[in-house]
């Protein structure tokens, strides 16, 4: 693990200035935690851990606000209902968004698998499918936001349906999550382009697909929590 050869032959793409590499080497002290785990994967997990805390802070403050208001909380089941064919179906858009995001997680998991099988075309195709599903999700979210803002009159400081804190929590939580999805879509498109170009066949290492996949699954995971505690509660 701590062999000197590693530092002398940096991988293609890791062309950090020597001074930065020396800095990192000093702090790493030639040691490596999580033996046999790709460093990028360990770092992605640690980033996701910090992101977990950020989203948890949002969700906890939402809980605090909702538990301390003395006026009724708007009923999400009715607020997010859609009228389809003259019939009002509760929460239907959110349900569809959930299925879309779960499906994108499914295609991403398959992409990772095909990556490790060295199947370049399948990997890139599945990643683009994942990105498309993610973009669909963001599109539906944009529709949901505009419906709430322009038709229902929901604002971060108030709304006609009840507790004023509803808008603040809604825009903050779903907005931050939507930004994550958007960033994920961009990341997927960049990664799939690199897959198609054969970058990972040349380096012989498809770990980047799995590491990108970790981020994508995390975004899905956060949505599972938002769906449960914000929309269904």
């Amino acid at each position: 693990m701590a062999d000197a050869t590693r530092r002398e032959e940096p991988l293609p793409g890791t062309t950090a200035p020597q001074v930065l590499r020396d800095f990192a080497d000093d702090w790493a002290s030639d040691q490596e935690v999580f033996k046999g785990v790709h460093w990028g994967k360990a770092m992605m997990w640690i980033f996701l851990l910090s992101d977990t805390f950020i989203f948890s802070c949002f969700l906890t403050s939402y809980m605090t606000m909702r538990a301390s208001v003395t006026v009724p909380w708007p009923n999400p089941s009715e607020v997010f209902a859609l009228t389809i064919g003259g019939q009002s179906i509760p929460l239907i858009l959110i349900a569809i968004m959930t299925f879309v995001l779960i499906s994108s997680s499914g295609t991403m998991a398959l992409a990772v698998n095909f990556g490790y099988r060295r199947n370049r075309k399948m990997t890139a195709g599945l990643m683009i499918a994942t990105a498309l599903l993610g973009a669909t999700f963001v599109g539906m979210q944009a529709f949901e936001w505009s419906k709430l803002i322009f038709e229902e009159g929901v604002r971060p400081w108030g709304n006609p349906m009840g507790a004023a804190q509803f808008g603040a929590s809604f825009f903050m939580i779903t907005g931050f999550h939507g930004c994550h999805v958007t960033a994920g879509v961009i990341m997927l498109l960049i990664l799939s382009a690199k897959v198609l170009k054969g970058d990972y066949d040349r380096s012989g290492d498809y770990s980047a697909v799995e590491i990108g996949g970790l981020y994508w699954h995390f975004v899905d995971l956060v949505w599972v929590c938002i769906f449960a505690v914000f929309y269904l509660w």
């Binding site: 991988l11 999580f34 046999g36 785990v37 906890t60 403050s61 809980m63 349900a95 959930t98 499914g106």
Partner: protein, 123 residues
């Protein structure tokens, strides 16, 4: 060394947990989990659709949420096959959030009653 181009697919069957270079599992696992996630999502939606209320509603919602989260982390994110050190480093710290939630529940209860008692029912 974990950057090294590793593994030909031929020794796939011999892959141990957290094998260096990547995770290689049969595709069927992913399709099963995918299906399960769909079923669990449909069930949580059904909770809302059929207006299950009260304690049962919250219990069901949280159960489905935890099951879905567990499936995603364990299978899709491959945590089930990672090294124990990594699993503990990532999954133990979030438990601290329970303390935050507990403290904020106490705090919100206090705020609620302060509003009721001093601000004319919060209006």
């Amino acid at each position: 060394m974990n950057h090294a181009p590793v593994h030909d697919i031929s020794h796939k069957a011999a892959l141990a947990p957290a094998h260096e270079g990547g995770q290689q599992h049969p595709l069927g696992v992913y399709f099963k989990v995918w299906g399960l996630l769909f079923v669990l999502s449909a069930m949580s939606y059904a909770v809302d659709y059929f207006h299950v209320e009260g304690l049962l509603r919250w219990a069901l919602i949280l159960t489905f949420m935890i099951l879905k989260a567990g499936l995603i982390v364990a299978i899709f994110m491959h945590m089930a096959w990672e090294r124990l050190a990594l699993i503990y480093a990532i999954l133990i710290p979030p438990i601290a959030l329970g303390t935050l939630v507990w403290l904020m529940l106490i705090e919100s209860d206090y705020t609620f009653w302060t509003r009721i008692l001093f601000f004319d029912a919060g209006s």
